[in-house]
Symmetry: D2
Subunit: 131 residues, 4 copies
């Protein structure tokens, strides 16, 4: 599988719950962190955008949990982007354990809101992200 | 809207991120907590099940983010259950702000794994949950 | 023990780690939430203060872990305030399980920073909190 | 400053709260993760110890917050160990931003509990950790 961006990470013990595996909600944290690092790699600083009143928001998340990450597991988040209509775009994100096993497959749909809370066509932004 | 189970909650400031709204991953924590409280209301203690080697796992999550919860917001999680094939069942979960505004709509698909990590038809369990 | 303010809470399963007990960091979240609810009960909204550029910051935390909260435990956070020099004040916070067992004892030292990041004597604020 | 162990980390946006800085509780997560990575570097796997019924527990935490980490900050956690009586030991932990600024200074006191929940002199363990 080929990705526009990959982020290597490692499970931290405090991310695991009483089942001894990474808690479901934590995967969304991994995915968010990978998206923000991807944006940064394209020159877009999420915190700076927020401070300027431009909010990139998640409008939909589909997460397919395949297998559970465990304490100490090394993994990476792979990321691709895709257009989704005129006002939205998708992040297609995989979480893959170091041995190549696919752990989670996600489609995160995002939209841009301007400083007045109105959706805006993320035109130039999109053009930059989709390449 | 009528629900089998409802859990009232309130946003805590530490659940909000630098956008000043509840972080996306936190909604999954709310949903999980509501599911576990629902199970408990049916006499099923999640921690006790885990200790006995019976793992209820989430295999898929669909979350539609409608609006953002903010610091101090009161809300409730409404929950219904539905059969999903022979080995799975769905939790249909809404997050509704105190003023009645729908904030998030989710379908969480769960399966049961026995102590050997094999899926089992959650028969009696299901029968109990679906009523 | 008598407190200026008490907040009843319940352990959520996702707050427990692979030891099957509430993770150490989560107690700080409980304590913070109790402080903010206390401030709110005195008419001080933390998020609103932050938006106005007034930052209440923790400069020191002492936490004595006595016993571990477990899944499903009911507990409350008890809170008292005390002056600590001219520029600081302390929150003396206990976490007490529903059966009366003391689980954690904390002293959280806070200071106020104005919109330019300088400490300010939290005069009126203090007067209000210490009663 | 010289340390027995150092762990480089980077702030993730979801770790920041509505003040736009890393939430106080998150520092304890950083510190815990650094301790577990340190133990691992000495051949002690925290999750495996837990599974064997040996619990290393934090009995006291002192955290001195000097400055606030911000979105994207690179930092490292420096760690030293020290004996603390017959049954306890201390982790002296600093959080230092990439530019050398000390952000947080902590003393975390730990004890060992055996499978029956009784403290045990962490003899061999200690001998190994203190060098």
């Amino acid at each position: 599988m080929s990705y526009q961006f990959q982020l290597p990470l490692k499970v931290r013990d405090y991310e695991c719950d009483l089942q001894g595996i990474v808690n479901n909600a934590v995967y969304q944290q991994y995915l968010e962190h990978a998206r923000h690092e991807f944006l940064l790699s394209r020159g877009l600083d999420f915190a700076a955008l927020t401070a300027r009143g431009i909010h990139l928001v998640v409008v939909r998340a589909e997460l397919n949990y395949k297998r559970s990450l465990r304490p100490g597991d090394d993994f990476h988040v792979g990321l691709n982007t895709a257009k989704n209509g005129r006002l939205r775009f998708d992040f297609l994100q995989d979480i893959v354990r170091a041995d190549g096993t696919l752990m989670l497959q996600a489609r995160i749909t995002a939209a841009g809101l301007n400083e007045r809370g109105r959706p805006f066509p993320p035109g130039d932004l999109l053009a930059e992200l989709l390449t």
